[in-house]
């Protein structure tokens, strides 16, 4: 399949005139694309590549260029609320007005620094706790009886399918001053005053760990389940005690799962908005929330864009590692 590249697209599509392509053919955009590509001498192979490629290029990559562009613009009270970067003068000279004030603002204002560092800290600590809770669960699942394994896997996936927002919401009812925990503790007479848990950093950590735990467990489980059990038997046979076997065999071999899980938690957690907005207090500064507020509350699109660029700079290294890793896993 992969090495086939002989026949022009038209012939292929026509010859493989399957129902789906007939249906697709009724959509004008599809028809246009096919004819255009045919004229340009593309083969079926390149058409198959081009369709998702162009989509992602247009709706994923190109938007970042606009973020960069607008982060260099000035905020205006207008629609859209920013100045334009390029202007044609009367003599048809192109004038580029770059404005680095937004970045200067980010660097000079303490608020952004605090938010920036706090996001990294919150994401890092949450990732650590996800790993501590998730690893034994994934390990236990992988070692469970095969008939149980699928049930447990289903139990991990189930919350993932239910609304993220509503699961975060559930914690409000549990943590607030007259919430479930405080009610139980006061009912038992352990405390007299309600413990303040809502709108604290603690609540944010809890929310992130809770929401992202399945992202940690799934890659770990996939890795640990594949682990050849005879390796552990061989280690035992060679006189290695279970704990040592875990440290020297299981742990190093599960490193890819640990890395994948950690990155899947860390990267989105840095830019998390919903959890700090619902569970955190006004002083829980996280960069995603700052971006949101700049955009929706202050309507300062250029500064919001500058914040987005700043987040990307923080995440570019983990994202690249993640991608290398995905490519490697797919290749293996």
């Amino acid at each position: 399949m992969s090495r086939a590249g002989y026949v022009p697209l038209g012939e292929r599509v026509a010859a493989g005139a399957e129902p789906l392509s007939r249906i697709l053919w009724r959509f004008p955009p599809y028809r246009w694309c096919v004819t255009l590509l045919q004229r340009m001498g593309f083969t079926g192979r390149s058409a198959v590549i081009a369709i998702p490629y162009l989509w992602l290029l247009l709706f994923f990559l190109v938007p970042f260029a606009f973020v960069l562009k607008i982060s260099l613009a000035e905020a205006l009270i207008a629609r859209p609320p920013y100045s334009s970067l390029f202007e044609w003068t009367e003599e048809a000279y192109l004038v580029i007005k770059m404005n680095v004030a937004n970045y200067q603002f980010l660097i000079e204002d303490d608020l952004y620094w605090t938010a920036y560092l706090n996001s990294a800290k919150v994401a890092l600590i949450s990732t650590f706790f996800c790993l501590v809770i998730g690893y034994p669960m994934a390990y236990g699942m992988a070692r469970a009886d095969p008939s149980w394994r699928n049930v447990l896997l289903l139990l991990v996936i189930l919350p993932f399918w239910t609304s993220f927002l509503l699961r975060v919401y559930a914690w409000i009812g549990i943590l607030k001053n007259n919430g479930i925990i405080n009610n139980i503790l006061m009912g038992l007479g352990i405390i007299d005053e309600p413990i303040v848990m809502m709108q604290t950093n603690f609540a944010v950590y809890l929310g992130i760990v809770y929401s992202y735990l399945p992202f940690m467990i799934l890659p770990l489980y996939a890795n640990l389940e594949r682990l050849d059990r005879t390796l552990l038997e061989a280690a035992a046979d060679l006189g290695c005690r279970p704990i040592k076997a875990f440290v020297y065999i299981t742990l190093p071999l599960s490193l890819p799962g640990i890395i994948a899980g950690s990155l899947l938690v860390f990267i989105p957690a840095v830019g998390e908005f919903v959890i700090p907005a619902l569970l955190g207090g006004p002083d829980t500064l996280m960069i995603g929330r700052v971006l949101w507020d700049e955009f929706f509350a202050n309507r300062d699109w250029p500064v919001a864009s500058a914040v987005a660029i700043a987040i990307l700079l923080l995440l570019v290294v983990p994202i690249v590692i993640f991608q290398r890793f995905q490519a490697h896993e797919a290749g293996a």
């Binding site: 090495r3 390990y139 927002l165 699961r167 987005a308 987040i311 797919a330």
Partner: protein, 280 residues
């Protein structure tokens, strides 16, 4: 030694699953609470479900969300399958590294960035070519397709890489053209992955608050946006009722799917054993 270890593992798992499920259970329990104070039990009642069904705003938002989710899931499966196929089967081509990057990056990209960047794109496109006119259901759908197709692509890619490529080569060898091989051999073999990809894309779209908030316009508030604005003002038993309904629907779906898969696997195993036994 071994026992201690398994006790430790079992208690970890019990704790972990309790952690995952207690909040969801509390949501469901208090949806049947008579009192408006969500967390103080005042007797059993189903009145909040009634109230939910009377709430025009929520119902309308749910309808918008379902429509977006449906269209999104179909497009995401089509595009994601192509992308996964390209990654798993088409080997090297110019720009493959960039392509791989664009497929995997949306999996981890913080939603605020995706949302903001797409909004800026839509604004600029409207400026340049006059489309999309304003923002609403179309822009939300496009945004959702972009990130959910990445998930579908990853599912399809991992499924395809476990399918022996020579099965497709055999079809070519027997005279089927590439397009036909794709539809008659590849797609049926990976059909289960397509179903789970579709469901995942559907629920992710239903679930998304942040990206939709950026790219929505007047009159296109999705369910999560309405829920968020309500939740920000404090807890509301109607939301508990809504959550219970969603949990119920999803669990029924997931359990049914799990049961079907389990049964299929059992039949398959029996067949294999039968085939081996018959051969002896």
């Amino acid at each position: 030694m071994n026992n201690n270890r398994s006790y430790f593992l079992i208690s970890c798992m019990v704790f972990g699953f309790a952690f995952l499920y207690v909040p969801i259970l509390s949501l469901i329990i208090f949806s049947f609470n008579k009192s408006k104070l969500v967390t103080v039990w005042a007797g059993f009642s189903t009145k909040w479900y009634g109230a939910l069904l009377q709430n025009e705003q929520i119902l309308q938002a749910a309808w918008i969300s379902l429509r977006i989710a449906f269209v999104n899931a179909c497009f995401a499966v089509a595009l994601g399958t192509l992308a996964g196929f390209v990654l798993a089967r088409l080997g090297r081509f110019r720009g493959r590294t960039l392509f791989t990057g664009m497929v995997t990056a949306p999996l981890v990209m913080p939603e605020v960035i995706t949302g903001l960047s797409l909004l800026l794109l839509f604004v600029a496109m409207q400026d340049l070519i006059g489309w999309p006119q304003g923002r609403g259901i179309t822009t939300i759908t496009i945004a959702h397709i972009t990130f959910s197709m990445a998930y579908v692509a990853v599912i399809v890619q991992s499924r395809l890489s476990s399918v022996d490529e020579s099965v497709e080569e055999a079809a070519l060898d027997l005279g089927a053209r590439p397009a036909k091989v794709f539809f008659v051999i590849t797609l049926p073999i990976i059909a289960p992955a397509l179903v789970s990809g579709w469901l995942l894309a559907f629920t992710m779209s239903l679930d998304d608050l942040v990206i939709a908030s950026f790219v929505s316009g007047p009159g296109s508030s999705t369910l999560p946006m309405v829920v968020f604005s309500k939740v920000r003002l404090g807890v509301s038993p109607e939301i508990n009722a809504l959550a219970s309904i969603i949990v119920l629907l999803v669990s029924m779906g997931v359990i049914a799917a799990g049961y079907l898969m389990h049964r299929q696997q059992k039949i398959r195993q029996r067949d294999i054993q039968f085939a081996i036994a018959a051969n002896k």
